[in-house]
Symmetry: C2
Subunit: 759 residues, 2 copies
Amino acid sequence: MLNLSVLSDPVFCPHSLNKYASIMACGNGYLGLRATHEEEYTQQTRGMYLAGLYHRAGRNETNELVNLPDITGIVIELDGVNFTLLSGDILDWERELDFASGELRRRVLWRSPGGKCYRIESRRFVSLDQLPLVAMRLSITPVDANAQLVLKTGIDATQTNSGRQHLDEISVRVFDQHYMQGIYETQNRAASVVVSAYCSLSRESDNCFTAKNRSLTAHYGLSVAKGDTVTLEKIVWVAHRGDKVLSHQTFAHNALAELKSSAERGYASLLESSGAAWENIWKNSRVEVASSDNLDQLALDYAVWHLTAMTPAHDERISIAAKGLTGEGYKGHVFWDTEIFLLPFHLFTRPQVARSLLRYRWLTLPGAREKARRHGWSGALFPWESAASGQEETPEFAAINIRTGIRQKVASAQAEHHIVADIAWAVVTYWQATHDDVFMRKEGLTLLLETASFWMARAKQVKGRLEIHNVIGPDEYTEHVNNNAYTNYLAWHNVACASRFLAMFGHEDAHFTQLASQFLAQLWLPQATADGVLPQDDTFLSKPAIDLSRYKAKAGKQTILHDYSRAEVNEMQILKQADVVMLNYLLPEKFTSQQCAANLAFYEPRTIHDSSLSKSIHGIVSARCGDTDRAYAFWRDGIAIDLGEDPHSSDEGIHAAATGAIWSGVIQGFAGLQIEKGELSLAPKMPPHWHRLAFPLRWREAHMRFTFENDVLTTETTAPVTLTLWGKTINITGRQVWPQKDFTTPDYGTATSGGRDDA
Amino acid sequence: MLNLSVLSDPVFCPHSLNKYASIMACGNGYLGLRATHEEEYTQQTRGMYLAGLYHRAGRNETNELVNLPDITGIVIELDGVNFTLLSGDILDWERELDFASGELRRRVLWRSPGGKCYRIESRRFVSLDQLPLVAMRLSITPVDANAQLVLKTGIDATQTNSGRQHLDEISVRVFDQHYMQGIYETQNRAASVVVSAYCSLSRESDNCFTAKNRSLTAHYGLSVAKGDTVTLEKIVWVAHRGDKVLSHQTFAHNALAELKSSAERGYASLLESSGAAWENIWKNSRVEVASSDNLDQLALDYAVWHLTAMTPAHDERISIAAKGLTGEGYKGHVFWDTEIFLLPFHLFTRPQVARSLLRYRWLTLPGAREKARRHGWSGALFPWESAASGQEETPEFAAINIRTGIRQKVASAQAEHHIVADIAWAVVTYWQATHDDVFMRKEGLTLLLETASFWMARAKQVKGRLEIHNVIGPDEYTEHVNNNAYTNYLAWHNVACASRFLAMFGHEDAHFTQLASQFLAQLWLPQATADGVLPQDDTFLSKPAIDLSRYKAKAGKQTILHDYSRAEVNEMQILKQADVVMLNYLLPEKFTSQQCAANLAFYEPRTIHDSSLSKSIHGIVSARCGDTDRAYAFWRDGIAIDLGEDPHSSDEGIHAAATGAIWSGVIQGFAGLQIEKGELSLAPKMPPHWHRLAFPLRWREAHMRFTFENDVLTTETTAPVTLTLWGKTINITGRQVWPQKDFTTPDYGTATSGGRDDA
């Protein structure tokens, strides 16, 4: 048995309601459900989302992930008093998300303001077995006297995204005194959602149903004797479609039939099936660490939980939102996060999902081509923020400028073009890890060609060389610069790979090849200073630096924007995240260990880490430079993004990329996984207080498992694999044991020379 | 000085939040503002509405009064704890609406869960002097230690109508670090709203502004020493337009300029101006009673408060919503309530407002004509529910049928046609009280002619007489009946008056006159049984009756629909309100006192009074029948509709018609006001515990004042008036004293014989 972690919400606190609603959210890649309490709190934001269900609510709005009608809310009236933990006393409290079964549980012993005690227990899960299924149970026991109970629950379509309503109510209906059904359609009529809910109470009660103001509600009133427990079971089926193949009626009828057969099985049986599906996930993806700090294992389980819950493995027309399916932050849009931070996990545990995520980009090429064309470039300019169609979805405005009182425009859509090369990087990495020639021949080459074409059009001739002007690198505190190192290197890599793979697959095109060679020969790649520091862009090194310690102390909160406008920040050496460190991470073969260390040393003090993407990458690069202590410190800071003390860190959803980075920090950091000269490379070096590290890994046709313990690496594989271990190339088969002392270890984990030849 | 009442919210209770938010709402006919607390509560519905600002949010929706961006919410964080009365202890509490000044005040002494005490005082008013102006003050005093305060407030456009969003955010902006402005437009772009808010803190603080997810928010953080008071003043200007004469920019600029000049004056000065406007209202409309029960006077002041706050006296394109401007019930639609229950108050205190309300119907004639035409009739069929355009706005569906699980269709729009005759009745009554020939010549005759034409088309020949089939009378528990007494008598009155006034103003039309004579001669008017009971319709008397006592005990809650479907209720002698009693009230000259008493005796036991319009009318008819005790009991039940014990009676807004009935119950009931043979008639008879009754009254050119005390009526008038007093016709001028003993009193207050000649 896997001894999986349990994530706890240690104490009821109004301030942290939304944090725990996000981090304890349940999901299955199809549907995400925030871990909100049954009872309402003013600060609590309920949320249920379907992957890929976006809608634009009006003018000046962007498409956003639709917050669906709520099914989790239950008004609990105990002897005339509305149950709320803000009043009365909490005598006993336990709340946990059980990663093994996927069940969210709360047990409360509550004394009402009037002095009566009640035990209130609730359980809930989103099925990993049947994607449209959500099941809940609520049990109430009056502890010290008979009680009069009122329960009200149903389908509440008054839900909005911060006041924006996306769904029209088409009809609501009650069937057989037990089944409620609401049919909804997005206001643009493109998609419909049918929410069907079965409610049943363990005891006789006065029932009625009301339908008013978009809420379909079942009301139960009953007396419960002291010590007796009454249980409400609610099974919900959330069907969704973006087509009109079936009539509303037939579609809704089918959904009801599905619900009925699930309701017949009952909560316990449904949970068991879902738990079995989770068991499979853990078996194939779990990273195990034996650490003196339990949080390390918890974080890794937390990461795999959300990496599973957020990923629409069932539908390649959808990718992963920046907050997964746990909240409305970034409006559910898809960023470069998917390719750079999330794809590695899938690639090495479920490569077919990595393929599906790349297929999403391939399917949305029309939008990317159109965006490039609109701006006068050829090829594909992928949107900075993407939703269902692949068109640019970045909102027009961000925060109020503190000097002018006017909202500032968001520049990312105009200039944060590195996403194009990031996607190409992911295509190449995918092929390296899978050798999936079928994909490369069709989608892969197209993506490489279109992205490369963009860069060749985007670069401009300046004094005999090609430069890329007016871009924003990953560091969004430095806007509209020329020759951003990250962008230029990645663009070069993009074109080089396009060229190489076209040749490799016999798809050469003389015109393209010629243009590509010219581009590769002429593109300016910023060069390191004598100290080994790569300039972030043409002007960065000439800007003044200021003391950032007070802002670094509040990393992630962008407090610098309270003191300086964006324009002012732009003119100083102030980084949200360090582009060059990121570049060192993505193209390790291009840089020596010494260069990486120099960049870390120079850029880190200038980096506030206001992006959740920042510290984890610093951690991996530190690990590769051999500084495991520092790497661990960064990794722990990365964990704290969602799991730390800040009660508001994750109000609008978890940080999807950061969960990917928890996995990457261990596998690419402490286990030293890298693709070197196209082959797998490992160099485990654990933090001192870790005694054991074990993880499964997929690599081409092989299912592998690595266990590192007592300076010995045990390898298990279903197929032979060539592996560079601690700098030495070996071939592994079956189960083998590799004592670290047998490997000479100078320079392990660092790159070969900085030549331009990779992949 | 008028010694005006103060309406108190006696104790903080989560259950009654919305009741008090409605009944203590402020308004000025232009803007209504629910009396919600600064801090949020899950059950609390904030609401700010502009009269006439309707919008349809999507398919299957009707136009509804738009809930505007909120300005009243303030997040109050006291030493890190969100202020909420659900936690901690309330050591002192006072909350009141001061009718004299129009100010809503709350004073709380609160001990936080951590044990620290704070005094929190807030004040607020909607200006009666400058209609777009709302002003607020919030003062906080840490009582027993220094405190760290955070305040957040601004313009929160996440507000919805039960999840329906009506406004698009066009722009938000901060000016001069003090002024916030949001520009919004209805999604159909027909109307725009500019909300401008000035915030100023009495002390230095850390400030910043955020604009996110439709909320523009000012944040203040500061330390306050023990015993010191910090005050936040917020002045808001809510501009609205339905045209595009000015650009958004200019319109918003002007609004900001208005706000700035108001903000310069400050809260106290603005309140004084508004209070002066209220003083004028009280002087001209207040009914004074000296009663041993203070609630009697409170109710009368409450009525005048809301009758003023709900009435868009500034714009004749708008009428009065069923919940005034205090909530979203009935979606802000206009019903017959306006003409029958609200117009009398205005007619006898501010006749120009009564004229404006009738002008609204005249302006919306196109919609009424279109509805008649669509159903194959001529003339004007006014919509059962009306909004801005005069088109039918009744929602399609009501509650779920308890037997089938399907939502039931609302039949009112199809068959509740009596509203046509109700409007005609109001036109005639208006002319009787004003002799406004200019109005009658233009709008009045048109309204009478169009409504009469409708009835002549609507009636059908059945065996040699005209009948009106398939209607719903005011009693909505009896649907689709033939020859509903209320409808037939009112239709007859409508056609008779049209005929008479056309002749009177020399606008006779031979064709119309002939048709009208035929209609008047042939229309079947149900006749009383031997007991004097007028049958409600052709079949009512043949239906079975059941014991209604348990439903009558919960009058207003429609609990009968928990046990019987509407179809089942329809087949029994079950009344929501009594049509025939209503008819007796409206056309007193048609019925003898004995007939009225017989109808009361027969119908009242069969009436649940599930309509808020029911009891007050029973009260007036009882008073006219001489039964003052019973009249008082009904009147008090009418008061209880909003001011009674039920914590949820007024969640979705006050009962506008019921406030009109509070006034009518006294003036038309206890003072015995009636129009008899076209002239004014009075017959004061007070409940035994009333010592004095005084009220102003407008009648044609005269401003009058009546005071009844010690069996003596004192009359004051600015112009001579012919008055029937206690059955005897007198002429009054100047100030005169009329001892009741000088009048022989048999039959006073009762009607003349039931002849067909009226007006």
